[in-house]
Amino acid sequence: MIVEQPAQSVDPAVSRAKFESEIADFRALAPQYGARGWFLADAKFPHAFVVLAAPQLKPPPLVTGVSFDYTDYDLRPPSVRLVNAFTREPWRAEELPTTLPRRVQGQPLVIQGLQMPAGGVMPQIMQQQPLMQAYPGGLPFLCIAGVREYHDHPAHSGDLWEIHRPAGAGRLIRILEIIDTYGLRPLTGYNVNLTPQIVGYAQSEPPE
C-alpha cells in the first residue's frame, strides 16, 4: 500500500503544540467520551488513533478506527481515514462498516399532469448522501470541510481551509462528533443473515 507522506512546512514545534492540545483536550474528558464509545488508543505526533464503539448495541461492537494525521497542522487540515480498528488498515470502499449517510432534501418531485394550486409547493423527497466518498481505486475519504482529503480535492478548490480553520473545523473532537453522529449513533441493531438447511424430517412419536 502506498501512503502519501505530506510534507511538514510549518515549524514542527507549532504543529506539535497544537496536536498535543488536541490530545490533552480529549484526555481531560476521556471518561465522558469513553461512555459514548470513543477511546483514544494511540497518540504520537503527528498521528492519533481513536477506536469507536457502539455502546447502544448488545454486544457492543468496535465499529471502526479513525486515523488522524496532523502533519503540517494547522496550516493544513488533518488527514482523516476510517480504518480497521484491529489492523489499522484503511477500509476499502466495499469494506466500510458505515458510509456515514446523512439525510438531505432532494429535488422537487415533478409529477406529470399534477396541477398544483396557486402558491402550492411541489413535494420533495428525502435522499441519503454518504459523507464517505471514494473513487475507483482510491481510499474512501471523509468529504467534509476541515478534512485534508476534502480540501485537497479539485472539486473543493473554492471552499478553502482558511475559511473553516478559525472555527476549529479540523479539531479532533469535532471530527469524531461527525463520525459518531452519522456513523455510530444511527446503529440500532445487527443485520443477521440466516441460512436454514433441511437436515431431515420432523415426526411425531413413533407408533407401537
Binding site: Q129, P130, A145, I163, A167, G168, R171, I173
Partner: protein, 87 residues
C-alpha cells in the same frame, strides 16, 4: 449563585469553557457566549449544534430550566458537518 442562574460547562470542539446563564432563557443563548469565550470565530451560531453528554442533540429553542441540568453539567458544542459528501 442566584436561583435563576446556572453555570454550564460548554465543551466547544473539545475545549471547555464555563458559561453563566439565566435558566429562563432559551438554551441557544449560551452558544454565542461559549464561542466568544473560546475564540471560535468565523462561523455563525446556527452552524453549531449542541449535545448532551450522551450525544443527544438538544433543542436550543427550549428554556434552559426545562432540561433540569445537574450542577456539574457538561454540554458539547460542535461545528456542524456543513455541506459535504458531494464530491
Amino acid at each position: 449563585m442566584p436561583e435563576n442562574k446556572i453555570r454550564i460547562t460548554v465543551v466547544v470542539n473539545g475545549q471547555p469553557t464555563v458559561v453563566d446563564a439565566d435558566v429562563n432563557s432559551p438554551l441557544g443563548t449560551i452558544i454565542p457566549r461559549a464561542l466568544e469565550q473560546t475564540g471560535n470565530t468565523g462561523q455563525p451560531p446556527e452552524n453549531w449544534e449542541l449535545r448532551d453528554a450522551q450525544g443527544t442533540l438538544l433543542d436550543t429553542s427550549q428554556k434552559i430550566a426545562s432540561f433540569h441540568f445537574p450542577p456539574d453539567v457538561h454540554l458539547f458544542l460542535n461545528l456542524k458537518a456543513g455541506v459535504g459528501g458531494l464530491s
